[in-house]
């Protein structure tokens, strides 16, 4: 089995995540979509590294996983802070910056 099926699987998962980010109303739902997209990127990195025969892509994957976890924790902290000040996590109710 070649590299192509892995890349296509990763593209499909990325696009499903993009669909979730654009259509979810709940901020936590949007974050779940972002996690799916990050996951697709990791599959891509590992597959390309494996078929290239170098370990650099796998090391980058370790870094991206750690950065994603930090991002998720901070994103959820922001969501909880928003909920404490505005009493809602629905993205279309959070229009404070709308002129």
């Amino acid at each position: 089995m070649g590299l192509q099926p892995y890349l296509i699987l990763s593209a499909v998962v990325f696009c499903i995540g993009l669909f979730g980010v654009t259509t979810r109303r709940n901020t936590i739902g949007i974050l779940l979509g972002v996690e799916l997209m990050m996951n697709a990127v990791n599959i891509n990195l590992v597959a390309l590294a494996r078929f290239n025969g170098s370990s650099a892509g796998m090391v980058f994957t370790v870094f991206t996983i750690c950065i994603t976890v930090t991002e998720a924790a901070l994103g959820l902290a922001i969501v909880i802070l928003l909920f404490r000040t505005r009493r809602t996590v629905m993205a279309d109710h959070l229009d404070l910056l709308k002129g």
Binding site: I16, E35, L36, R50, L74, L76, V89
Partner: protein, 164 residues
């Protein structure tokens, strides 16, 4: 069909199915559980690519860490059970169009020319290779990562401070 192709097909079905359930499920908590399945499926794909260490990291950090954090966020912002947890999608047509156009674009690019069919032999144990690379060639990014995590920790504590 080889064993790898069968395993890849099964993992693809699990991964794509659970990913669709994550974005379409009406209940946010159910969507989170589907995300846990999708992350576990990704760990399986890593195993297929001979990256055992990354599969373990994926299970520990993603499926263990992120799912727990999101459960806390859901508990704080909604009730875990009940009708408040239902959530709707909006502008489904537009979102589906954007995702479909991007997918068609990506698949066209990937299918444009034949890609590698065989895997080169990796030098030695992959876990050992990753560990040595992180602590020699990539030691500066590794330390920066520690700094980033410290900054994230401080930021989360700052956000979670009690109201004045």
């Amino acid at each position: 069909m080889t064993g790898e192709a069968v395993a890849f097909g099964a993992l693809s079905v699990v991964l794509v199915g659970s990913a669709l359930a994550v974005v379409l499920s009406k209940n946010l908590f159910h969507a989170l559980l589907w995300l846990a399945l999708a992350l576990t499926g990704t760990a399986g794909v890593f195993l297929l690519l001979d990256a055992e260490f990354l599969a373990a990291v994926q299970l520990l950090l993603y499926a263990g860490g992120i799912i727990t954090i999101v459960v806390f966020a859901i508990v704080v912002t909604e009730h875990l059970v009940g009708e408040r947890l239902t959530q709707t999608n909006m502008r489904i047509g537009g979102g589906a169009a954007v995702a479909a156009v991007l997918l068609a674009f990506l698949v066209t690019i990937i299918g444009r020319r034949p890609l590698e069919m065989t895997r080169p032999e990796m030098p030695g144990d992959l876990t050992q290779v990753i560990g040595q690379a992180v602590l020699t060639q990539y030691v500066l990014p590794f330390e920066l990562l520690a700094l980033l995590m410290l900054a994230g920790l401080l930021g989360a504590i700052y956000f979670a401070r009690p109201d004045e």
